[in-house]
């Protein structure tokens, strides 16, 4: 038996290993997605004043600190029994949409686009944005300019672009001035124009060029999907009910955030440090898809599968074309990339809606009234999927219990299944070319997994390894990069 381990993790946050085991005939017998984990963050939180949590949790990860800040802020609101003011909710949502843009631009332009604009079969050295910068420097320059717009919005709202400090119990610590609102509006308008170009590029260029790859059954799973929905089952990153649809798009569960433990269970596998969440009422049937398996997917693909419409004009038009192309629900994993573009357009449009709201510069940014509850659940849609925070405190407000369920952890069963399926379909006779390895990498890169979060480790803290073994268990290939 051969074991192949790939290093697709070179462009991901945290550390992981993919091991592919070959049989004597060179066919894939099994494949594992393995992640090393630091445990102890929840324990680290115990005994701390709960109002400190929104600032502490941003340090879990350098990739999605806004998501943790926002979920934590909502949890602390609930603990204090304070409903944020309407202006505070709008300001939070603007900052959060900017974070969605920040995260999605990094993934789309620095990870996905190089694969698709250069070629999935190109050499590793050419399949990155550095090469793109060499052949099309003006494109990269514009991408960087747009990212500066986005981080400026984050900084105005959050105080800092990477680790926001704006959320306080019942609202936000700082309102917006007229000048700041105008500045944010201009940035969002500019970025929206830029995204129009890329949506067209995706629909008319990339989709056509890579139709076989995007619709390949290599990147196809029939799972359940979970996501937050706003009023009328609209796309909403900040607040709403949690909806689960089945493989045909039918709603099977709908629940409030505080009831999450009735619907999600977590399983531990001996070969991975990361847990394997699944739908509790459906049950765990192993790494298989289909209606009997409780595996569900979250993130852009999951979100666009659980909603019925998008409330903003351009994103809704794009969403219609997306459904026509992929069906509803869409089971093609490569549609994660397309969904990200639509979500970026929605984010810009939503910022423009909120920033031009007449109350946006109101000074009413904190609600100080409420009865202390001592327990709360806060949920948001992080860029990679739904994020749960749950705290319990003592009567003094000191944290006794903290539980976090991370998007990448929820996608872990699907990522593992995706890699196995891709490896089985792409590798035969033990022949492994660079192009095949990259196509297997692409299977999980679509999910934009954030391993720092899923393992509760921290950015840049772990080495990145890829290894390959033969049928006797002997190592035949290893690639190791980065890490501390």
């Amino acid at each position: 038996m051969k074991v192949i381990k790939i290093d697709p993790i070179t462009r991901l946050e945290g550390e992981a290993r993919i091991s592919i085991l070959l049989d004597d005939n060179g066919k894939v017998k099994d494949a594992f997605f393995q992640v090393m984990e630091f445990r102890g963050f929840e324990r680290f939180c115990r005994g701390r004043p709960v109002e400190e949590m929104p600032r502490i949790v941003t340090r879990i990860c350098g990739v999605c600190p806004w998501a943790h800040h926002m979920a934590s802020g909502k949890t602390v609101d609930a603990v204090f029994g304070r409903e944020p003011t309407e202006t505070a909710k709008k300001i939070r949502e603007i900052g959060y949409c900017a974070h969605m843009l920040d995260s999605h631009t990094v993934h789309f332009y620095f990870l996905a686009v190089p694969d698709l604009l250069v070629s999935p079969d190109a050499e590793r050295g050419q399949r990155n944005v550095a090469y793109l910068g060499k052949i099309a420097p003006e494109v990269v320059k514009e991408i960087l300019r747009q990212r500066r717009n986005i981080t400026k919005i984050e900084t105005i709202i959050g105080g800092k672009s990477i680790h926001p400090v704006c959320n306080v119990p019942g609202g936000v610590s700082k309102g917006l001035s007229e000048e700041e609102a105008k500045e944010i509006e201009e940035y969002a308008k500019d970025t929206l124009k830029f995204l129009d170009i890329w949506l067209e590029k995706w629909e008319k260029e990339i989709l056509t060029k890579y139709e076989d790859l995007i619709y390949s059954d290599v990147y196809h799973q029939e799972t359940y999907y979970m996501g937050i929905v706003g009023d009328g089952n609209t796309l909403n990153f900040y607040d709403g009910d949690i909806r689960v649809v089945d493989q045909r798009g039918k709603e099977v569960f709908r629940f409030k955030p505080e009831d999450y433990l009735n619907y999600i269970s977590e399983r531990v596998e001996e070969w991975s440090y990361t847990k394997f969440p699944y739908l509790k009422p459906i049950g765990w049937k192993g790494l298989v898809d289909g209606p009997d398996s409780g595996i569900y997917r979250v993130g852009p693909l999951g979100r666009l599968n659980v909603i019925d419409k998008i409330s903003t004009e351009k994103a809704q038009e794009a969403y219609k074309r997306y459904i026509e192309a992929g069906g509803k629900p869409t089971h093609f994993s490569m549609f994660y990339h397309w969904a990200r573009i639509i979500e970026m357009i929605y984010s810009c449009e939503r910022i423009l809606e909120l920033i031009t709201d007449e109350d946006i510069t109101s000074k009413d940014t904190v609600n100080y009234d409420g009865d202390f509850v001592g327990e709360g659940v806060g949920v948001v849609e992080a860029p990679r999927g739904i994020l749960y925070h749950h705290y319990k405190t003592d009567e003094k407000g000191l944290v006794e219990m903290a539980n976090l369920i991370i998007p990448t952890t929820q996608n872990n069963p699907s990522i593992s299944l995706e890699i196995k399926k891709a490896a089985q379909k792409l590798i035969s006779n033990g022949e492994i070319s660079e192009g095949i390895l990259n196509r297997i990498e692409m299977a999980f890169r679509a999910y934009d997994p954030c391993l720092a979060c899923s393992t509760h480790s921290l950015p840049g803290g772990l080495p990145l390894i890829v290894t390959v073994y033969d049928s006797n268990g002997a190592l035949i290939k290893e690639i190791r990069r980065g890490g501390k």
């Binding site: 502490i56 350098g62 910068g133 960087l144």
Partner: protein, 155 residues
Amino acid sequence: MRTLVVGIGNPILGSDSIGIRVANRIKKMLGKANGVEVTEFVGGGIKLAETILGYDRVILIDCVNNLGNGEDVMVVDNYNEIKGGDTGIFDAHDMDFITALEILKRACPEKTPKEIKIIAINCKSSPTFSENLPPHLYETLNKAINVVMEMIKND
């Protein structure tokens, strides 16, 4: 000349916080009158590269698990020497810092710093969740501060 000092690390990860601690101490020692800017940063890759745009000289301070030469503090003048190496600036989420910097050089050559130095601090231990710096690193912390202060004394 615009100089930026960046302390890299995580304040809740024990030894990993040393870069930030060095930067914060330097910030207090310099006071407001000095023209040197000091900041802290968690992560790496494109976001770190974006942070240093527009400065003439940049000093990055980060910890490593083990320096090959056994020293407590090492000044790396040529960042290409540590490509693929062992510091936290190699953010795995998007790309490593060196690659990100090369992209910025091509896209915005006029804004890319002319001089980048890395202060690598040997932590000799794996990080764990803690807000405290391990006691064995306090002497190293002071050494690193002195190294950086010497570099910027004429700014």
